[in-house]
Assembly symmetry: C2
Homo-oligomer: 171 residues x 2
């Protein structure tokens, strides 16, 4: 083999190496796609204010969406529960409607098994029924709540949900 | 150059070619990332049933989330408005709360300018105020609605929003 052929082959190897590096690193960072994904994954509501440890186990954050007033007699908000976080047991005199915005979690009415709830689910918690709700053990839960007919009252907070109650499928 | 060296170089070129093809095609289809993106972009609620042409201009689809009953006296649903679609003018005897889930659109109360509303916004439409809402001219709108105190009535449908009214910023 002549020296010229040897140099040509070396260049081929070098060019292939460069194209490998450029080509692959380009595919690893598709900037426009990343941006689109980030935008779609932006939370619907701000994270909100941390709920007090007296009413929640773990970290739960509340965003008020509609404050209670004498026109609508309705209170609307959103709670972001971190993995494993949940409300205490509590009672709403006029009931509560939950709408799961993202993730999955549980709700339980006293005397019934806990129920899985996930993105898009709508859950009715009847008036004066002792219940709790929160994230699953696996991930966070974003959950809107609607409290109707607030002239009848809003909430009575009760004792925490123990780890045994939280992890039991039938308590 | 000896024959052995020549063969070794050819193999190097071949291996680099294969690694380029394998490496890059692998990066172009990151299966787990695509799945995550698809999941995040899944609509929160199903598209629902097409609203009647007698109450809507363009295509609007309604999903009932909480049917009206005598326990909660509340009706909750979601409307997906295609680009340019909007409700007729209408009145709710007990008012209405709108929560924008995705996209952007407008709402307008009679005698006031139309207002832009976008993802995460909460809008109060007071009782007995004639109003309309719908998508923008640029894209679709996904919008939850809450009708409280339904014992006072649900809705009275009125005339369509004309193109002039829809496009005017101050009518």
């Amino acid at each position: 083999m002549q020296k010229k052929t040897k140099i040509a082959l070396s260049y081929t190897v070098l060019l292939l190496l460069i194209s490998t590096l450029l080509g692959c690193s380009g595919d690893k960072t598709p900037i426009s796609e990343s941006t689109a994904t980030d935008s779609a994954q932006e939370p619907l509501f701000p994270r909100g204010e941390k709920g007090p440890a007296s009413n929640f186990t773990g970290n739960a954050y509340n965003t008020a969406l509609l404050p209670n007033d004498s026109t609508y007699h309705t209170l609307v908000g959103n709670v972001y529960f971190e993995k494993g976080a949940r409300s205490n047991w509590h009672v709403h005199p006029a009931g509560q409607i939950l709408i799961v915005i993202d993730g999955e979690g549980y709700h339980q009415m006293e005397g019934e098994p806990r129920q899985l709830m996930k993105k898009g689910d709508v859950v009715k918690c009847p008036p004066n029924v002792k219940h709790w709700h929160g994230a699953s053990e696996k991930g966070s839960l974003t959950q809107m709540y609607i409290l109707p007919n607030t002239e009848k009252g809003i909430v009575t907070w009760l004792e925490p949900v123990t780890d045994e109650q939280y992890t039991s499928m039938n308590n």
